[in-house]
Amino acid sequence: MEVSVNNKPPIQPKNNEDKVQSPWVEALQSFMKNKIALVGTGIVVFFILLAIFAPFIAPQGINEQNMANRLQAPSAEHWFGTDDFGRDIFSRVIFGARISLWVGFLAVMGSAVVGSLLGIIAGYYGRWIDTIISRIFDIMLAFPSILLAIAIVAVLGPSLQNALIAIAVINIPNFGRLIRSKVLSVKQEEYIVAAKAVGMKNNRILFRHVLPNSMAPIIVQGTLAIGTAIIEAAALGFLGLGAEAPNPEWGKMLSDARVLLIQAPWTMIFPGIAIMLTVLGFNLMGDGLRDALDPRMKN
């Protein structure tokens, strides 16, 4: 009996489901099953492609003025109509995707890097460092974020670059707090205790073990934050505190369109739809990533 058992070959996994998968692969599979999240990703990819290939897609340049053609309603020639300088709004909206996505990505990258670093330091070292960093986050979060952004731009002077800095700064505490709480829980895990016990240096533990294990919430928060950052950049542009003319930034285009509300509503409709769709895309994608990567973060 024993002999026959021992002679049997070891049981091989028959299909993929029996294999132990990395949590990232599992998350990806769960994300791919989420139709709404895929729609969001589709929208985001669409706008990214639009931004990359803008010069090939846009029928006209961003600043090609043609006063004879000013304030034309949407037509076969000008899909989204023209503005008060006779510029093609379709082309400007496409080029605007470059600015908005660029600002969104860069601002969120900045706040994610700085916020995560501060959050890791606060969570890992604890004590007075944690107290100081956490209090600074509390104070920053005590301002309504757009107000803080306005204050920063009011001090630095209105420009797209300063708007980007302001948006990056106001988002730092969101990342910082998130990572701090994640680090606090990861810190208690046995593998961290083991790493400490074998004499691993703090820096190595932080960047080889703690940070990779805190990545999921950063990715989720980052995706959702890009959507918010795009709206914030547009809001600053709209208030005249962001991009300057003739930049086809969507918020700035809306601000210019305000005076044309009665005679040329199309100058206002299309940049707004572009902002809404892009932000919707990032929100849907972010929600999907959250469900896939960290179901506990839901609600």
């Binding site: 005590a142 204050a151 009011a154 505190l241 809306l254 206002m268 919707l280 609600n299």
Partner: protein, 334 residues
């Protein structure tokens, strides 16, 4: 509860000091000579010197800060460079206008958001649920300044139903008592003006309410779904209590905590969003006050305006925190 309240109040002190420090540093952080920048290129040496003195910029920074803090504690918010008036004297009408707008927006957001969330949870997977949640998703993605413009275009210009901007009919101005016009018109028994003020409020309040409404609806729905699965709800239903009461009385009471958190957070965002909404609808509130001050480089007004709004935000969050303790006996704060 009392101990908790006292502890929360003490914890507020470093936050308020931090707020005042950030706002204080604003003028000092302007690259170059702040007085020169505020007054512009054509300013004379004497004017620059006088403003430097007025702003206290010739003192060491810690003395400046303690003077500023002392002024704040006595309610002195500084003087507007543009109007030469004490800010604490001219700020109230603006603040009242913003509070009126934000309060109405929050009422709309809570009423529609909570009910939409409840009905969505009650009839989960129904067409109402799907439509409400799609609208909520769009609602959180819409830039409110664009929504405001669209509202103006559609309801004021195309349909001519509501006024485009302002707070009152210019030819029939409200005599202000409290500066909260809905109250003022009621006190004076001017119902024609009350309706008029209400008509001016509708568009900006709805624009401002959109995002909080969407978020409140989503949170209420998920919170209600969780509560409605619990045993005591099944018991209540088994006892034959009408579904309406099960939903609105038994479930809502226990689903309300996360909703309250969101309402607290959203109120702060609302105050920020008010800046954009007020700019579009020419609403003479704090947003407009700060926005005009930025254009005029009137830094004392920018500082005080931001400080006042941040202070209100902090106070609302404190109030919401204390409200939890009062509503939910399960929360132990010791």
């Amino acid at each position: 509860m009392l101990t908790y309240t006292v502890r929360r109040l003490i914890a507020l002190i470093p936050v308020l000091l931090g707020l005042s420090l950030i706002v204080f540093l604003m003028i000092r952080a302007i690259p170059g000579d702040p007085a020169q920048i505020i007054l512009g290129q054509l300013a004379t040496e004497e004017a620059i010197e006088a403003l430097t003195k007025q702003l206290g910029l010739d003192q060491p920074w810690y003395i400046q800060y303690f003077t500023y803090l002392g002024d704040l504690l006595t309610g002195d918010l500084g003087e507007s460079i543009k109007t030469n008036t004490a800010i604490n004297q001219e700020i109230w009408p603006y603040l009242a206008a913003t509070l009126e707008l934000s309060f109405c927006a929050m009422l709309i957001a809570i009423f529609i958001g909570v009910n939409a969330g409840i009905i969505s949870a009650w009839f989960q997977h129904s067409w109402f649920d799907y439509i409400a949640m799609i609208l909520a998703l769009i609602g959180v993605s819409i830039p409110i300044f664009w929504l405001g413009l669209m509202e103006q275009w559609f309801f004021s210009i195309q349909l001519d139903w509501l006024p485009t901007s302002g707070r009152e009919e210019v030819r029939n101005p409200v005599t202000s008592i409290t500066n909260i016009y809905l109250i003022d018109t009621l006190i004076q028994g001017r119902f024609d003006q009350f309706v008029d003020v209400l008509r001016h409020l509708i568009l900006p309040a709805f624009a401002l309410a959109t995002i909080p409404m969407a978020i409140i609806a989503r949170i209420t729905r998920s919170s209600m779904l969780e509560v409605m699965k619990s045993d005591y709800i099944r018991t209540a239903r088994a006892k034959g209590i009408r579904m309406f009461w099960v939903v609105y009385k038994h479930s809502l009471k226990n689903a309300v905590i996360p909703v309250l958190t969101v309402i607290g957070l959203q109120t702060g965002l609302l105050l920020g969003g008010a800046i954009l909404t007020e700019t579009i609808f020419s609403w003479p509130g704090m947003g407009r006050y700060i926005y005009d001050a930025i254009s005029a480089r009137d830094y004392p007004v920018i500082q005080s305006g931001i400080l006042v709004i941040a202070f209100i935000f902090v106070m609302i969050n404190l109030f919401i925190d204390l409200l939890y303790a009062a509503i939910d006996p399960r929360i132990n704060y010791r």
